[in-house]
Homo-oligomer: 301 residues x 2
């Protein structure tokens, strides 16, 4: 039986940690293959990648990486001699774009003394991809990975009167059009539980039965019934999550519909689709009805 | 004609700036009403709020605020004497939750000398709401606001070998289950352009015609045809955005469907809905077809 993939930090490894060799990375479960740059399955996506100097189209920037997909290089010369295809490890990175799961990134570095090592750069997300001719003229896949920075957890020190504001962005980050996320109100914790509920329902929305098919596999979202975080403090447990399409996730979070104890939908026609091994908690459904669901006036529909 | 609302920073104001009085806040367009704590319309949401000490259920935490909605207080005693209702300014804050637009937050502070001022705390987003009995026993609306921190723009200094990792989170931010965003791949710039495209289409999806109705008004997303950021570097212009429901936004970004020059959908039945005053650019549609759209194999549908 193959080892199940591990997403996120492994062990006590922290960004900045150095590993002496690919063998050490493999032994410690940080990046398991000894040669391949991408550790991935098509079904679950990429766990980790290694940036070496083998791919001429790789780019490292301050706030993102462009990582070249796998394939098309000559074993002898290392040069790109053929088009890359959307297969194997490349499919795994496309899957990561769809799941949003974190990818561990390691980078080959050279010490002043000339010896080489692999530095852990931390957790990244695949945010977009491209397929275009590389420097060689052959088609390559380029994946854009951005570092995951846990902003909301970062404690912000309390400060006395007349010092800089409580929630300052660093001055250097100022930009004429700061980047917002339109979907920030649908922050979810990406945990074993949320992955489990999607797998249990085969990525099928429990409200409409929709299964969004993408080139990177099916896409669905896990919605917490009683939301995580203040003021709700819902638990991250299987009986407090639903598998929903993005539309019904937004509608559920914004309170357009609720769910009765018999799983009848309130505010929408029909019934919640359930599974024998996934029973949403009655108490949490009641909480959502009471605190979040607001029946729409006829004029709002 | 009422002044149109301004979302985001006003003028050169930066978090930490102090204002002597409500009159000064109003005069400078930072928070326009002289008395009300919430500056909002039901249609467009809240521009700004002021945290004073008038509402006993307000809470200020390191990384979020709980802000009590408007209403139900006695004019004489200032005490909560009635249930709050989802009307007026409270509806505006619910609208902000749906639009994701930034809200300016000001807080009353007391100088060591005893004099009072209003400090600009920066831009926040309404991420959830609750309606529950407050300390008084009467129902109050509690809005959770979180600071907007521009993470991806923050320049990350290049570092010499063997120093902490390029993309470290601060050590204090470490947590057993870091918070990820499942929808991070749908980062959009929230700009005049993206608001404009949603308004032009009445929040109706240009693919399916769906208009998601929520207690906070209609919800839709603006999707860039040629994505912003590397490797695509698409422009943030009206002819490079579409108004889509979250489902079709995800499918478009992941490449499940494309759009032909005659606006026929590729990979989906039907035709893009257009408006006389919103003509998507042919070149950008061609770019999306070439670089992002990947026809699904029959087995993937």
């Amino acid at each position: 039986m193959p080892t199940p993939p591990v997403f996120g930090h492994v062990g006590s490894a922290q960004p900045g940690d150095l590993f002496a060799s690919r063998a050490e990375l493999a032994q410690r479960g940080q990046h398991r293959p000894l040669q391949a740059g991408i550790c991935a399955t098509q079904e679950q996506g990429a766990e980790s990648i290694v940036l070496s100097d083998k791919y001429e189209d790789d780019e490292v920037h301050d706030d993102y990486l462009l990582y070249t997909g796998h394939g098309g290089r000559s074993e002898e010369t290392g040069q790109q001699v053929a088009d890359q295809t959307l297969t194997k490890a490349n499919k795994g990175l496309v899957r990561s774009q769809v799941t949003g799961l974190p990818v561990r990134v390691f980078r080959k570095v050279t010490a002043p003394a000339g010896s080489q090592a692999f530095r852990y750069e931390g957790l990244f997300r695949v945010v977009s991809r491209d397929c275009r001719p590389g420097r060689s003229g052959f088609l390559v896949f380029l994946f854009r990975l951005e570092p995951i920075i846990a902003t909301v957890e970062a404690p912000i020190p309390a400060r006395p009167y007349a010092q800089p504001g409580l929630f300052d962005r660093p001055a250097e980050a100022a930009e004429p059009t700061p980047r917002y996320e339109a979907t920030v109100s649908r922050l979810v914790r990406d945990t074993a539980v949320t992955r489990q509920v999607k797998a249990l329902h085969g990525y099928r929305c429990q409200v409409c039965g929709e299964q969004l098919a993408t080139p990177g596999g099916f896409y669905a979202e896990a919605a917490h019934i009683r939301p995580l975080g203040a003021p709700h403090h819902g638990p991250d447990t299987l009986d407090n999550v639903l598998c929903l399409c993005p539309n019904h996730h937004a509608l559920f979070d914004f309170g357009s519909f609720g769910i009765a104890d018999n799983y009848a939908l309130l505010g929408l026609p029909g019934q919640l689709r359930t599974q024998a091994n996934h029973q949403p908690d009655m108490g949490q459904l009641a909480y959502h009805r009471q605190h979040i669901y607001r029946p729409l006036a006829a004029s709002q529909r």
